[in-house]
């Protein structure tokens, strides 16, 4: 048992090693770098499976391996690894999906000149994410969290010669940093209150009863329990990383990176980190549930943010024309679902949806990548169309992903995980609103995905690029096929009638009794969305690339607003950007007039004293010295021949002088 925990650190270490190899390999070493990356991921996958088997033996235990990172005198900072079903499931998912994305990248990035750099960054990304998963200390988690941010920056900006990509990378990094500041503050506060950052530490960890009790017992500003305040600060980090409203703006722009990166960010690594963080510190987030007379519970905020994000993402996705952006906003929306599930107290349901979503969203992104690769980087769905024939494998697998995402009944994984969340929302006693929002988003999801598939794969090809598209090589289609199988199969580990996964994660997990009504309702809503999408986009396929969207003709202003993402980017530019400019101007004025004036005044003072000094000097003191200095001048001219002005000469003389001196001392000392 213990030996497995000791193996845990290898899971992130191997991809890290692969990244190091990639960093040191010259550009020609394509085989070596990609081989190292894929090999490391394969071994990590094997280890993860082994770890999962071990974790399933006793799902309630948190096996830990803690060690002192460094001592500073009497205090020591401790890090550690933890093994529980949450870690194990996530590790298997990340390594598996990551491996398939790596293999897909072999084909997708084949023509890129910086192939080795790409695989180096990919490995770093995977390593950071895996490190985040196995961390048993908020500090270690934070370190890996920042590494994930760094790797995403590098990968989104991989084609940095495109200004849009460079800007998107910067945006992603800075936007998530805003949330990270909250996380950092929460971490510091937590350390201040409990004296530890370990999650589980044999009764002394911050997620164990002693620490939680003391955190709940104290209150802080506004009558909040300390645990609520810390929980909300930590949640800020999750909001940034998981693209939740109002920090969602970076996620769609992250599409500027290569498509495998989008798949990795949206499915396995980056955005999953936020949801995972909240699930990991769930005991802390939910600690204040026992308190009755507090202004707000941490989880209520989480549920509200999640519901807003789910609705917002689904709405905006309807108005997008770029195949990757539609998928990006669907990710935003699905992440909102997960946060909603966390907020209503069903964290196993959130993790279940995270796992199924990882598979089908990776599938969808890689499918989109396959389309883009075949259509010579044409991403506008208005200019695609008719790809059903030439790209049969991509079409079928993409269809599987789409059906899983909209929650097509019974067969597909998305259905079961979405059901789990809907049931949890149904059982939430605080407010029924999240349930209504989630149900509405179900319709929207079915609608926009139908639109996407109809526009891309049906009708006639509407551009030369789409006309000449043909199926991609096996390195790209085989991962698609594997993911398609998973998009179906993974759902059966956590169905409403047999929630094995949820029970494993949390033995106290209860399915809310709602009879068949809720399930029938959601099936009906999916069917409605599908039918609506087919009526508008499927029955009469788009004829020309320039023809307006049917929705656009019906409600031009609404459609334009959705297309412009409801103006949030502009809003931020007008408020935050302006504020920043104003602060810069203020600082400039302060610098130029206030501080500069002060400096000038001091300088005047100095000059004045200098004048006084000089008068005293020249008349009183100098006379005698002038005579003496004439003599020195003669000697100085003699010495100045040695001054070549060349530093090396001086240094050499100093060194030789040193040797001579030491020799003198040593010989003299022996006498």
């Amino acid at each position: 048992m213990d030996s497995t925990v000791q193996l845990l650190w290898l899971i992130p270490a191997l991809p890290l090693l692969a990244a190091a190899i990639g960093a040191l390999t010259p550009r020609r070493g394509r085989g070596l770098t990609s081989g190292a990356a894929i090999g490391a991921m394969t071994i990590s996958l094997g280890l993860s499976v082994r770890v999962l088997i071990e974790a399933l033996r006793d799902p309630t235990a948190h096996l830990t391996l803690n060690f002192a990172w460094f001592d500073l005198g009497d205090a020591s900072l401790r890090l550690g690894f933890v093994l529980d079903p949450l870690t194990a499931f996530m590790c298997v998912m990340v390594t598996f999906v990551g491996l398939l994305i790596f293999i897909f990248s072999l084909g997708y990035m084949h023509e890129d000149a910086n192939f080795t750099r790409f695989f180096c960054f990919l490995s770093l990304f995977a390593a950071a994410m895996l490190g985040l998963l196995v961390a048993n200390s908020l500090l270690l988690l934070f370190i890996c969290w920042e590494l994930v941010g760094l790797a995403s920056y590098l990968l989104i900006g991989f084609w940095f010669h495109k200004p849009a990509a460079a800007a998107a990378a910067k945006k992603a990094f800075i936007t998530t940093r805003i949330g990270d500041l909250g996380l950092l503050l929460g971490m510091v506060w937590l350390y201040h209150s409990t004296g530890s950052l370990l999650f589980y530490d044999g009764g002394h960890g911050v997620l164990e009863t002693t620490a939680l009790a003391s955190l709940v017992a104290h209150t802080t500003i506004g009558g909040l329990a300390v645990s609520t305040a810390i929980g909300l600060l930590i949640f800020c980090g999750a909001v940034g990383k998981s693209g939740q409203f109002p920090l969602h703006v970076w996620l769609p722009d992250a599409m500027e990176g290569p498509t495998p990166v989008s798949a990795l960010i949206h499915a396995a690594t980056m955005v999953a980190a936020g949801v995972f963080l909240v699930a990991r510190v769930y005991p802390l987030m939910s600690a204040d549930q026992t308190l009755a007379n507090v202004p707000i519970h941490a989880l209520t905020v989480v549920a509200a943010i999640g519901a807003i994000t789910a609705l917002f993402g689904a709405l905006v996705a309807v108005g997008q024309n770029d195949i990757k952006r539609v998928l990006a906003f669907s990710t935003v929306s699905q992440l909102g679902y997960m946060m909603l599930a966390l907020g209503v107290g069903a964290w196993p349901a959130a993790i279940f949806h995270l796992l199924t979503h990882a598979f089908f969203k990776a599938l969808l992104f890689l499918g989109a990548g396959s389309v883009i690769h075949a259509a010579h980087h044409e991403q506008d769905i208005r200019k695609l169309g008719g790809l059903r024939g030439p790209m049969r494998v991509t079409f079928v697998t993409f269809g599987f992903g789409m059906l899983a995402l909209i929650g097509f009944p019974f067969l597909f994984s998305g259905f079961w995980s979405k059901e789990a969340i809907l049931h949890a929302a149904y059982g939430w006693h605080v407010s029924p609103l999240p349930l209504y929002v989630a149900l509405f988003a179900v319709v929207l999801t079915a609608f926009y995905m139908t639109r996407l598939v109809m526009e891309t794969f049906f009708g006639r090809a509407r551009s030369d690029a789409a006309n000449h598209a043909h199926e991609n090589p096996a390195t790209m289609t085989v991962p698609l096929a594997i993911l398609a199988v998973c998009a179906v199969g993974v759902g059966f580990v956590g169905t409403t009638y047999w929630p094995w996964l949820q029970r494993t994660l949390d033995p106290h997990f209860e399915i809310e009794e709602s009879g068949l009504g809720l399930m029938l309702l959601s099936i009906g809503l999916v069917a409605f969305g599908l039918a609506l999408g087919w009526t508008i986009y499927g029955r009469t396929p788009r004829a020309k690339a320039t023809a307006p969207d049917p929705l656009e003709t019906a409600a031009p202003r609404t459609f334009a607003a959705l297309g412009a993402r409801l103006g949030f980017d502009e809003l931020y530019a007008a408020t935050v950007g302006r504020l920043n400019d104003a602060a810069a101007v203020f600082a400039d004025v302060l610098d130029r007039y206030v501080w500069d004036g002060l400096v000038r005044f001091l300088a005047l003072l100095g000059e004045f004293s200098g004048v006084v000094n000089r008068d005293g000097d020249e008349d009183v003191l100098n006379g005698g010295f002038d005579a003496t200095s004439k003599k020195f001048r003669g000697a100085g001219q003699l010495y100045s021949r040695a001054q070549t002005g060349e530093i090396h000469g001086y240094l050499r003389v100093v060194a030789i002088g040193f040797v001579v001196l030491v020799l003198l001392v040593m010989l003299g000392g022996s006498r």
Partner: protein, 179 residues
């Protein structure tokens, strides 16, 4: 013998030696960062954690950045990172002088009575360090602070462009070199 020390020493020395012989300035700088990290590892090995972190922060973190900036600011074109080869005669002279210094130092070490008994590292807590710095060494601390401030201002003054007055105010000087 202490294998950890020998490994640290070899890695550090190798990195430093290669850095001093490479022709690509960027590579040199990167290798030197590795060498500084090796010195930090030595401090950790010797039990001086605080100094090790200071070394990492100042050298691996800060000085390395200044060096990289200096390298990038003083190249003329993209291909200009390689340094022109230095004269062989001077290199030989340098090796001769360096060898002499090395010989003298080794001789001094070998001939000195240095057989100190193996003992545990002295422990020094951050609290104790703080007391030392603010107590007996407060004057030195203040002087160091003044030196750092003066150096900062001096560096700005030296590196600032002279033609500041001819430019519209509020803008930073454009890079004086088209890379």
């Amino acid at each position: 013998m202490s294998p950890a020390l020998i490994i640290i020493a070899l890695v550090t020395l190798a990195a430093a030696a290669v850095a001093m012989t490479l022709r690509n300035l960027i590579h040199s700088a990167l290798l030197l960062i590795g060498s500084w990290a090796g010195v930090a590892a030595f401090y950790l090995w010797a039990g001086a954690q605080f100094v090790a972190f200071g070394q990492v922060l100042v050298y691996v973190g800060a000085v390395s950045m200044i060096v990289l900036f200096a390298v990038l600011l003083t190249r003329r074109s993209r291909a200009d990172l390689a340094v022109a080869p230095d004269s062989l005669g001077r290199a030989l002279g340098a090796l001769l002088v360096g060898g002499a210094v090395l010989g003298v130092l080794f001789g001094a070490i070998l001939s000195s009575p240095l057989d100190v008994a193996r003992q545990p590292a002295p422990t020094v807590t951050v609290r104790a360090l703080g007391h030392e710095l603010m107590g007996p060494h407060a004057a030195a601390l203040l002087v160091a602070a003044v030196i750092l401030t003066v150096a900062l201002l001096g560096a700005v003054v030296i590196a600032a462009t002279d033609e500041e007055k001819n430019r519209p105010p509020g803008r930073s000087a454009p890079p004086n070199d088209v890379a």
